[in-house]
Amino acid sequence: MSGLVIEFQFGLSWSGLSKFAGNVFGAPVALETLVAFFAESTFLGMWIFGWGRLSKGVHVTLIWLVTVTAYASAYWIMVANGFLQHPVGYEVRDGRAYLTDFGALLGNPNAVIAVGHIAAAALLTGGLFVAGISAFHLVRRAAERDFFSRSLRLGVMTAALVSFPVYVVGAMQYPVLGETQPMKLAALGPAEGTTALATQLAQQYGPGDYVPPAWIAHAQNTMLYLGYLMFIVAAVAALLVYRAWLRRHVPVAILVVAAVAYPVGEFVGGLIYGEAGPNAWLIYALCLVGLGALVLVSDHLMHWRRGAYLMVAMIPVPFVASIGGWLFREGGRQPWIVYGELAVRDALSPVSTASMVFSLVAFLAVLLTLMVVNWVLIVRFVRRGPAGTQLGASPAPLAKQPVPTF
């Protein structure tokens, strides 16, 4: 539902953006609606109402189509956002941007690498969500033990597999930033770095404040340290959940533990010292021994209830980390709406401040209320377990439909 608001938001509050960059920026936005949004909503509606009506194959295909179109959506939106971060494939004539190279727009490193990072982060979020809820049901001894054991394995494995790529692909963006948005990187460091750059930018674009807000460093650090934490928890949980299999395959177990110990050590060091600096080798060695021991003598840990609740507590972490990353990416490019071409204040619609404040308050109130309602509902559905889902439930209690399960 917020997608509808965003679609209108460009012209509504930022008509200067339409007028300057509409020829270029509008194309990926339009294509996102036609390629992805349309299909996603149609297929989701069919999936919800298709329980017991469509064949199983068609029904499951529908939810996969919803998933695929969601990722397609992410790509097109990041192409649009990538243009705002680092405009490419265009030329400016008479104060208006014209599209000259569509391929450059689609291959913009600021978009492509970010899509990889976001896709991995989305999978990590999903993995930890499924793992947390499964752990919650297992520790409360829900009737569907097999069901939740399987979903716990799926969630933990997904989280463990993607939590390192999230970090690696995310880190790949920093060299690109160094070339395209040096100010964003400079704002993370001491003030001297930004002063020199600000002077340079003022010469290039005229006088103005080119230093992004200082809080972006906190946003970045929140994302980074929570990222470390998620990798460590996911790796430990995966070794625990798959310990029986690993004991049967000793060579694989040795390789996995050795491979995992290095990044775990790196991140443990990062969490302790900010950088994996002093005592690095000691930390690696301790991690190697600790993880190895975990696989060998950890059976009682599986019955440790607080361990299960730790997985539940991890559920909000990826969301907070994502918000941190988003604030860093968008806050760090201030004062630009199109980097180096159009400042945010010049893109503002000719609308009175009162109208602007009114609409901001109205949208915030509605969307925040819906967010809370959504959380309450998610928690309720989670507590109810797989048998309590209402999807496709028949209004007449007598006409029994087959009870759907996820």
Partner: protein, 336 residues
Amino acid sequence: MEIAWLALLGFLLTGYFVLGGYDYGVQMLSIVLARDERDRRRVLGTVGPFFLGNEVWLVAFAGVLFGAFPFFEGTLLAGMYPLIVVLLVALVVGNAAVQLRSRWDTPSSRRFWDRLVAAGGAAPAVVWGVLIGVLLHGVPLGGAGSFVLPWSTVLDPFVVACAVSSVALFAAHGATFLVLRSSGALAQRATATARPLLIAAAVAVVLTAGVAFGVGSAAPVTNPTVAVLVVAVLVTALVLARLSLDRNRRGPAFIASCVAAALPVSLVGAAQYPYLLVSTEGPRFGLTVAQGAADAATLVLLAGFGVVLVPVVLAYQAWSWWLFRGRVDDRVPAYY
């Protein structure tokens, strides 16, 4: 090339008026027609499988508006600011209410959501009526290429009449859809409601046209003959829908009401062509299709995608209509 894109833009908005139109009609009628909780779930069940897919026509319209007509989009949305904000808030709230009403089991919470469901149908109908009215009436677009909508325009008798017609039209369209999709006593009540509503909508449209001729307009309609023709077809469609219902022919009645719901879009497009926005400040300030459209290179590029994507979109939407074509009764699963 911009003519082709104007046609696609019009097509998407028309699709939204037809499909979203019956959603809003059904939402408005849901508290009137349903006697109990089971009725209400069945009323919402008629739009159920299509509800999410219908709204996307508006999202696609907004996307194409931005991609193909960015210079129109910025001026239009910023100028109509308060109306668009009300529309979006109403759509989000109405959409949420439909999806959330059955998630709580207490009667008081259901009553609360049901009122929001109805309001979420009525408010968009009003706002779209006002928007159509304002576009036909003309906006104070000056040399700066932007405008601020004055309240006097919103309260202009012609614009108010458009809003009333729009509510009547969507309600009648929703009722005709309910006749097609519901069954039993509910279908009978829907028929009894649809018949007077169709005539009321026809009368409202005729009166609105009368106001336009009587009061006159600040910016004269560019193609008055076409405008009168479109209005005549619209009224005829409503009357035909009523006549079909009298003969108990539900399919033709719904097709006729679809035509009626679609025509306000053609009216705005055809009556003011070649303008997208007519200015009350004088014809030279109006925004033409060519001025509002994106650069030719962008349009050609988008056309390559459009030729492939639009048939695909139509195909899976049609598949969804075909799958859920039957009448809704107690055996059909409900979710809303």
